[in-house]
């Protein structure tokens, strides 16, 4: 938390002018606070941090005249084209700006461009969000909110796209695209993305033992939330072999069974559904 450089207790007569002057100063950001935080222990209508050029307004403490001044400030800033933003979104906006200026953005942009004429617009939008989510995840940033946003906006389809993206499948699609017809690709793509059941997309280099550990965790979660089924999907000869070995290695269980959904040699893809017995 930035150190508060100036703490002021204003008299009602002084506050409108001082608050306005600070709020309209170039480079100063205005924070409408709930009390506490930067304004804790300060019995004041506002506080100004010279170092960070942040003007914190203690909204619950505003008198009527101060409030009217603040409403005036808000309208003035808006009229002058300034952006008014939810504090909680400041970091997201900053992260997205950094992402767009990162060298790796070129790769993601090329991927989007590749699929633009192949996939539907909503899928492209979901993929765009997923690529950013993937980048943030790699940087160790919290992404659960982003994942919810993708699901809220684009449903199960969006969630599947996000999972495919995180598992590197779209890069693999680009590599394989020229070996199959567009129709074949889209049929396969629709099977994968359009399915409602949650899918576990197996990524390269996973071993049977690693699959087993992850699978047990997924089974526990599925049982806890009374899921009916989930899918195991893999592409590429290695992943297909790993999945077959994994399924063969699991003894019959009283709670669930494996059912092969499809195996496509042309696209090198395999999918099993894990069905829970009731």
């Amino acid at each position: 938390m930035a150190e508060i450089a100036v703490k002021k207790k204003l008299t009602p007569a002084a506050s409108p002018k001082e608050i306005k002057e600070l709020a309209f100063t170039r480079g100063v950001s205005v924070f409408l606070e709930e009390g506490g935080g930067h304004l804790e222990d300060i019995d004041s209508i506002f506080s100004f941090d010279k170092n960070s050029k942040a003007l914190y307004i203690n909204v619950p403490k505003l008198e009527e005249e101060d409030k009217n001044t603040l409403l005036e400030i808000i309208r003035y800033l808006h009229e002058n084209g300034e952006l008014l933003l939810k504090t909680a979104k400041k970091e997201t906006l900053k992260d997205y700006d950094h992402y767009r200026n990162d060298p790796s953005y070129y790769h993601d942009k090329s991927l989007l461009k590749f699929f633009t004429d192949i996939l539907e617009k909503d899928d492209i939008e979901a993929l765009k969000m997923s690529l950013f989510l993937r980048k943030m995840s790699k940087q160790g940033k919290p992404v659960n909110g982003f994942k919810s946003d993708i699901r809220d906006k684009f449903g199960d389809r969006g969630a599947n796209i996000a999972n495919l993206c995180s598992s590197g499948y779209f890069e693999e699609f680009v590599e394989e695209f020229n070996t199959v017809t567009k129709d074949d690709f889209l049929k396969y793509y629709e099977k994968v993305v359009g399915h409602k059941a949650r899918a576990w997309f197996i990524h390269s280099a996973i071993t049977v033992d690693e699959m087993s550990v992850e699978f047990d965790a997924k089974i526990a979660k599925a049982k806890k939330y009374r899921m009916e089924d989930f899918r195991i999907h893999g592409r590429g000869k290695t992943n297909m072999q790993t999945i077959r070995k994994f399924v063969a290695s699991r003894k019959e269980d009283e709670d669930y069974l494996f059912k092969k959904q499809f195996e496509d040699k042309k696209l090198s893809a395999i999918e099993y559904v894990v069905l829970f017995k009731r």
């Binding site: 709020a23 950001s29 205005v30 924070f31 409408l32 606070e33 709930e34 909204v59 409030k67 603040l70 409403l71 808000i74 309208r75 800033l77 808006h78 009229e79 002058n80 084209g81 300034e82 952006l83 008014l84 933003l85 939810k86 504090t87 909680a88 979104k89 400041k90 997201t92 906006l93 997205y96 700006d97 767009r100 939008e125 765009k128 969000m129 950013f132 989510l133 909110g145 982003f146 946003d149 993708i150 809220d152 906006k153």
Partner: protein, 79 residues
């Protein structure tokens, strides 16, 4: 790069709404003085908990989800 000037929390959002003659109805949706719900550029009604920002043009109400933040950063809501 976008440089937001004013920041609000979910609790202080009502002050921003008040500045533009808006308020929250019983269900928590943002409405104008006639009681009509405001819409985002995507055509969605906006719940106060999802109110992400306001831009000029004349009044562009922005949802606080990732999709809207990306559009905002890319200048898609510029008037």
């Amino acid at each position: 790069m976008l440089n937001p000037k004013l920041f609000f929390t979910e609790k202080t959002a009502s002050l921003v709404l008040e500045a533009f003659g808006k308020k929250v109805n019983d269900e928590g949706f943002i409405v104008d003085s006639k009681g009509e719900t405001v819409c985002t550029p995507e055509g969605e009604e906006l719940h106060i908990s999802k109110f992400g920002g306001l831009k000029k043009g004349s009044e562009i109400f922005i949802k606080d989800d990732l999709y809207s933040m990306m559009n905002l950063a890319e200048g898609k809501y510029n008037g």
